[in-house]
Amino acid sequence: MKRYSAFAIAREAMRDHSGWKRAWEKAQPKARYDVIIIGAGGHGLATAYYLGKNFGITNVAVLEKGWLGGGNTGRNTTIIRSNYLQDPSAAIYEKARSLYETLSQDLNYNIMFSPRGVIMLAQTEHEVRGYKRTAQANALQGVTTEFISPERVKEIVPIIRLDGPRYPVLGGLWQERGGTARHDAVAWGYARACSAMGMDIIQQCEVTGIKSENGKVVGVQTSKGDIGCSKLGIVVAGHSGVMADKAGFRLPIESVALQALVSEPIKPCMDVVVMANTVHGYMSQSDKGEMVIGGGADGYNNYTQRGSFHHIEETVRALVETFPMISRLKMLRQWGGIVDMTGDRSPIISPTPLDGCFINCGWGTGGFKAIPGSGWAMAELMARGQHGPLSAEFGLDRFRQGRFVDESVAAGVAH
């Protein structure tokens, strides 16, 4: 792999950019691998990357039924923050956020991490108390957040309306080192780094069956033939239930549609991410100037990657009352992704009832921010065969044992 650098740009400029190579190699499946990862979203690719980087395991294939990053990783609104309430969440999300800080250098690929700051508005007394509590919890967890006054909110976000028609802004939970990153670049950067370590990233390769002998996984059936493996990682987000069914177990997961939309591009007007969880909408501005908007998930099981229009209406209504100046903006595009929801709104990083088969899922509406930390923890689990400190609380057994990592009451929203 040729490294990207200022020198490389100068060199290529001298020869009409004829020397750039594919970012990652196009691979055909071999007969077997030490490790197969199903799903080339951010979490699957990051798992493969840290298997190689932290454990020297490089005989790895990542199988993707569509194109790389074409799942939720390429469909999300890219909010990165780590101001969760529970200790296990703070640990893994903060690990991820801190890895994001230097990921561009680590991968030698510009993922455009922009720690521009994230505000979660408090618009009811309940939210004020809740976020003050989160700020205290974060202080104990070593995560830097702050509860700020309405005046401070207005200073940071001049376009906001503090005395909203329904819910005035009473303060906010501010994480200055939260922000956004370029979602495709995260997938592409990890893919390129994996490919450089000799791993195979195989697109258009759908896993259709999981093969086992005596309760141990031995390989997968795919649209490109059977492939053997010693260890298998299922990292397929919304399709986790479908894969688990093929592996012979059930999951505490339901798949629903979550939508997002972007406006026409406008001049810079908001340089932070603002989340308004009571009225339920959030917004940031992309580098191109589009307002990137998201809201709540649809209320029923769905695999179609499109949601119901009234959710868009509700989200836009909430944001127009919070930011009156956007009321005349035209929206350019809308799309949906299928998110994997658990009851406690926390992820699953776990061994499964099938020996040698591990699963990473349940990130639901908020897993983009977690990609580096999740890959780190999943790689450790798969390499060692047992949990490291980051994933220990996120096993499947927590449901039977009643050890929830309850983030549903903490934020009510998880993007």
Partner: protein, 109 residues
């Protein structure tokens, strides 16, 4: 946007008049059941890629709970039926088998 018909008051309306209540026909566990049974009842979900039986409530109408059979892959609604049953009615199952040959669901075929 789903369009559902309430089997009680007969109103056909867009989904905004209703509220989804999740997977239907779960077997309720009680005293004497072990942890594994409770785990299954409380948390494990079919979450099928295809035919799904679920509970809905006509919240902005007659207020009653009912059942619906729907395809999560196409959003086709096969039909709705009474909440007072523990399995889907035979005529609805026949419709589904006709439209989805080879379909199977839990202990129903």
């Amino acid at each position: 946007m789903l369009i559902l018909t309430c089997p009680y008051c007969g109103v056909t309306s867009e989904e905004t008049e209703f509220h989804g209540g999740g997977e239907a026909h779960l077997k309720r566990e009680g005293p004497g059941s072990d942890d594994q049974a409770f785990e299954g009842y409380l948390f494990h979900r079919e979450n099928p890629y295809g035919v799904h039986f679920e509970r809905w409530r006509h919240v902005y109408g007659c207020g009653k709970w009912f059942h619906a059979a729907r395809d999560t892959q196409t959003l086709e609604v096969f039909g709705t039926y009474s909440a007072q049953v523990t399995t889907p009615p035979e005529d609805l199952l026949a419709v589904i088998r006709d439209k989805r040959p080879g379909w199977q669901w839990r202990d129903l075929a």
